[in-house]
Structures are given as structure tokens and as C-alpha cells.
Symmetry: C2
Subunit: 365 residues, 2 copies
């Protein structure tokens, strides 16, 4: 049996707690002889800053590069609100994405029937929702240069951020999205602001070309990102897969997540290119929720997003789709049984702790 | 009595129909001797392209500059989807905003009780919602240079858009927002992505300084634009006034609009700086909805957003707040009486036409 190397980066806030449940799941998989995972652990975000005055150390970057997959918790918190910009907690995550070449961010937004009530939207609008947002993750305004603040004198400063996209960056993310659509309901919606942004014009053009050349069997539709956002709120079930740039993807995937009523449930995968020789790709898996410093250390956090991020790792990095399906079924079964952490429970009912939720999922497996 | 000069730019799609109802309202105001409005009319968007191969003619730009206020309908439609980028319908609107210096875009999102049911959100989440989004409108990625597509050879192109903000641009929009908050519930939420964008860092810094220097009596809060978007969907009533940049404002104000369940109801005002001598400011008023080409020419469009945009003109450009209040009360009364255009009617009921809705509001006045 091949050994798979994982780097665990729990990060800050509730990160370590929810990662704890993934560790127990890994131990169970190893003990059951289903696969062999070897784990290392590192620091990222505020915890790396506290230890080394950086948002991630060179040593941990090297481990991330060597690992078959990185499992990431969450970063940030008020404690580090005024550290220098270069070493703010988020910088660690952004460096991992960029240096590992993780250009494709997959964010499923699924509304579990048992939780539809938790949404701020009407049940009939979100029940059964199952969309996949494919966000470009290593380009756009996140990394484009110049990215500066200049002092102009007279109390005036000028801040500049630059959105840059090259044809090949749009092509490769479009292919990831079209491939996913083929395995789902065969529909892709591309979102940009071509009426205002040149990057939107190029985005639209390239996605249209990739479609015409390679994916004529998939239905392609274009929406402006602002009306796309409105349509997400109005009638989200019209979508199957959505592909969009880094910044629009940040906004739109968070909104899609909120529709489901349960941020604590949603995983994400960030994938690099497939190596022509080894057929492997770099990858990182993280929950969509943040570090929730207000509830950190209290055993209240919902570990489901973290556990299902690990399920995505099994599916996308280790070709263990069947085990991933099993874990997802176990989560659904535990929810159907009525167990709830504080974030998803209804008023007046009692809440399970992080560990109790982890226990229940393990037991179901 | 002073004569006020208006330039009416109905634009495309349903623009002319909804503008028709504003014309009747103006005639009524003139006839009743309440004020004296002199109107001119021009072309913008696709209709300007059809007539002159531009998105707005120099003649109409001159009229807009000379007018006391511009009343704008809507632009765009599939007919003009493949006209050259420089003369696409939206370019006319963007030029008006930029050349008239309309840096402050006010977008109220109000949920009329009679219409709360039309929202995709649960009634208790949106009923009574009343927020004001203040969007910076002449800066950021909309107008920053370079804004180019370059051919790199080998089938590769590179698209660049540039987000630029100077201190003074952030200061003046912050002041508009703080002033509005003072007249409302005294709370301002500023949204940016300071964890990723340098313009977000400067935005945050400048808003904080303006607050400390001039508006300590207003409660100021900062949210990252992505979590701000989530909070808008989850619990929008936490907000009073939101201030944000041009692109985030585009996304967030559309989402806020959608929460109310009635895009056809929402007006907007775009304001320039107050001239130190004349105490006047340039201004443009437009509905938040688009040109809705699918229903254009059928008499189905809801004229309320257009009429209440005109009410905003009365309030912000002509110091006729009392008349604006009256018009808004007339709209609310007509809605309470049960009259509905097709976009807001519930299933099985019959719909009023554009003119019937205009009639009812005039009658109420
Ligand atoms: C933490 C932050 C830098 C990050 C982003 O903006 O990409 C987060 O919001 C996300 O969506 O993963
Ligand atoms: C028509 C378009 C250029 C415009 C914008 O992006 O600003 C519109 O979406 C708006 O919000 O007024």
C-alpha cells in the first residue's frame, strides 16, 4: 500500500479544534488498513507569527511542497489585527496558494435537507441546492503588480491594485470547470464584468473559445457578475457550475455558502496543474469558514466543514472517491439523526460539542 | 419661481416607458404650480448608437453638463451585444458619471411591507429593511489606467485593469456616508478587502481618520467585503449605511436590492461635489433595474423605481424634500391598496400596466 504524505496546518482560532477531528479520522483510516497516511504538522497565520514572526516559515513551505496534500484549518483573529501587512495571517494562505500553483478553487454549496431551515432564504428557494463554484485562485487582483501605496505629499496617498489575466490562466480554469460540469448537470455559467473590465472581456472571449473547441456538449451561459450575484440570491437552483475570477469568486462563493444556511458545513479544494509525468497535482483543502476567534477553544466549533474538506482530499488527491462518498454519507446520516453543533441547532435544542460531532461521524463510519 | 432644467435620458428597453411616467409627473407638478421644470430629452446607450454610432453624443453631454439634474432610464440589450467596446451602451452611462464628477452613488434598499413576500428571503429577515449603500462611483477599477488587452503572441493575450484610489477620493465619499448616517440611525459600516488589496488598506485607514477627526458621534464599523456580503444575506437589518468602493458597491448594492424582493422599486442618486460658489452639485438619478429588453415595449414595466428616482432628484438636487416624501407616500399607499405590476404581483392575481401604475400614483397625489 502506498504511503500518502499529508501536511496538517491547523492555523488559528477554531482551526486546531476542527483539525483534531480530522486527525482522529485519519487514525481510524490507518488503523482500519484502508489506506496509509503519514502526517506532519506545521504553523500558519497568527500562530506562525507568534512563533517565528512570519505568516508561514520556509520550513513549513518546504513541507507543503513535499506533501501529497495540505490540510488547512483557518487563519486570523483580532490578536494579529495590527501586525505588519507582509506578515498578516492571510499572507500565509495566499503564499501557499501562489507558490504551490493552486489555481483552481472548488467550492461546493450544498444545502443539506436537514438544515434548509437554518438558511435566511425561504426553504423552497434553497432546499436541494447543489452548486459548484470554481474560482480562479492564483491570478487577478490578488497577485497582480503594481500593488502599492505611494505617498503623494500634502497628506495624499495613492493605493494601486492590479488585476491581470493571461489567456492560459483563463483556459486552464475554464477546463477544470467544464470537466466538473460534465460530471454533474452539464451546465456552466461564467461570470465577469465585461461591460466595465478588460479582464472581463478577455475572460468572456477565452471561455467562449474553450467551449467551442473542446466542450460543445456542455451548456455554457455568461452572466455579468453583479446580476449573477443577484440571481444567486433570487433563484440559486438555476446554477450547476459557476466559473469566475479570484475576486468575484471570493464574493460569490461566500454568498453561495451563506445561502445554504451553514457555513460550518462547507469544504473547499484548491488544486494545481496535473504533472504530465507523475499524473499528480499539488492540492490544499480547507473549510470555507474562518477562524471564529469568538468561540475558539470552547469545543463549540462545527468540525463538519473540516471533515468534508478532508473527504475532498480523498476524492481529488488520492482517488478514493468511494471513501469520500462514505464520509459524506456518514455526515448526512448524523445530521438526519438530529445531532447539531451550536451554529446549526435550532433555538431551544441542546448543542453537541466538536468532539461529540466527530465521535458520531466516526461511529457512523 | 426659479426654473429647473432637467435632461431626460430614457435610454433603451423599458427606459422610455418608465420615463413616460416621470414626464407625466413633471407635467402635473408644473401644472399644479408647485415648481417649474423645463425638460430636454437626449439619447444614450443603444439608442444613441443607432442614431449616431456613439453611446452618447457630444451635444447630449453638453446638455447634461448644463442641466440641473439628469434623469436616466436604462441602457443596453442583446441588440448591441457586439458593437465595439468603446461605444457599447454602458459607456454612455460611465462617461456621464465620470465627466459630471458624480462620485457619490446613493442606493437605498428598502423593503416595502406590502412586498416583503416577494423576497427570496424569509419575511422576518427582510421586513422593515431600510439600508443605504453609498458607493464610490468615479474611481477604482472602473476608470483606473492601464486598462488594456495586449497581444503577447503565441495565441496569448494579457488583460489588465487597475484599481486606483487617492486619499481625497476616499475622504469625500466617507463624508457623504457619515452625513447620511447622521440623518438616519447613526451607524456606518465600511467594506473593503484590506487583507488582500492595498486600496483596501488605504480605504480602511482614511475612513478611520475621517471618523476620528469629524464624525466621532457616528458609530463606525469595518467589515471585509466578502463577509459583509454574507452578512447582507444572513442578517441585513444589522446595517444602516454602508460605504464601499466602485466595484464592491456594484456587487453589494445589487445584492441588497435583491433582498428587498423588488428591483423594480429601487431608485438611485449619483451626486457630484457641492460647488463652493453656487452651492449646487451635478446629479443624475436612475433606477437600479436594467433595460429589461425581454419585456420592453409591452407596457409591463414597473415605473416605481423610475418615479422614486425622480423623488430623489427632488430631495437631493432641488431641496424639495416634502414633495419627495409625498411621492414616496403615494407609492406606498398605492402598493398598500394592492395594485401590482407584473414583476411584483403574486401568482394568480392580475397585473397593472406601466400606465395604470403611473395613473394610480398621480391620482394618489
Ligand atoms: C483569508 C482571505 C485572504 C481569503 C481570500 O480573500 O481569498 C478568504 O476570504 C477566502 O475566501 O479564502
Ligand atoms: C451598467 C453598468 C456599467 C453599471 C455598473 O457596473 O456600474 C450597473 O451595473 C450599475 O450598477 O449601475
Amino acid at each position: 500500500m502506498a504511503t500518502h504524505k499529508l501536511l496538517l496546518l491547523p492555523g488559528d482560532g477554531i482551526g486546531p479544534e476542527v483539525m483534531g477531528e480530522v486527525k482522529r479520522l485519519i487514525d481510524w483510516i490507518n488503523a482500519a488498513g484502508i489506506a496509509r497516511f503519514e502526517t506532519e504538522q506545521g504553523l500558519v497565520g497568527g500562530s506562525a507569527y507568534d512563533a517565528h514572526k512570519v505568516s508561514i516559515s520556509e520550513g513549513d513551505m518546504a513541507k507543503a511542497t513535499a506533501a501529497d496534500a495540505v490540510i488547512f484549518g483557518a487563519v486570523g483573529g483580532p490578536k494579529w489585527d495590527s501586525v505588519p501587512y507582509e506578515v498578516r495571517p492571510e499572507a500565509g494562505l495566499l503564499r501557499l496558494r501562489k507558490d504551490l500553483g493552486l489555481f483552481a478553487n472548488l467550492r461546493p454549496a450544498v444545502c443539506y435537507p436537514a438544515l434548509a431551515e437554518a438558511s435566511s432564504l425561504k426553504r423552497e428557494i434553497v432546499e436541494g441546492l447543489d452548486i459548484m463554484i470554481v474560482r480562479e485562485l492564483t491570478g487577478g487582483v490578488y497577485f497582480g503588480e503594481p500593488k502599492t501605496i505611494t505617498d503623494l505629499g500634502n497628506g495624499q496617498k495613492r493605493a494601486i491594485d492590479t488585476q491581470v489575466y493571461d489567456t492560459y490562466e483563463i483556459e486552464r480554469i475554464a477546463r477544470v470547470a467544464f470537466d466538473l460540469a460534465r460530471k454533474r448537470r452539464n451546465k456552466l455559467t461564467s461570470m465577469e464584468k465585461r461591460n466595465v473590465m478588460k479582464s472581463g472581456v478577455l475572460w468572456n472571449e477565452v471561455v467562449t473559445q474553450v467551449h467551442a473547441r473542446e466542450y460543445k456538449d456542455v451548456t455554457l451561459e455568461h452572466q455579468l457578475a453583479d446580476s449573477g450575484g443577484m440571481n444567486l440570491v433570487k433563484a440559486p437552483k438555476q446554477f450547476d457550475v459557476i466559473v469566475t475570477d479570484n475576486l468575484f469568486g471570493d464574493m460569490l462563493s461566500d454568498i453561495a455558502a451563506m445561502l445554504t444556511g451553514s457555513l460550518g458545513m462547507l469544504p473547499s479544494a484548491s488544486l494545481g496543474e496535473i504533472d504530465a509525468k507523475t499524473k499528480k497535482r499539488r492540492s490544499l483543502f480547507e473549510p470555507v469558514h474562518g477562524s471564529a476567534p469568538d468561540i475558539a477553544g470552547k469545543g463549540l466549533a462545527n468540525p463538519i466543514a473540516m471533515i468534508s474538506s478532508f473527504a475532498m482530499a480523498l476524492r481529488y488527491s488520492f482517488d478514493m472517491g468511494a471513501l469520500a462518498d462514505k464520509i459524506e454519507a456518514a455526515i448526512a446520516a448524523v445530521l438526519a439523526s438530529g445531532l447539531r453543533t451550536a451554529d446549526i441547532k435550532s433555538e431551544g435544542t441542546s448543542a453537541a460539542s466538536t468532539t461529540q460531532m466527530g465521535d458520531a461521524i466516526l461511529k457512523e463510519l
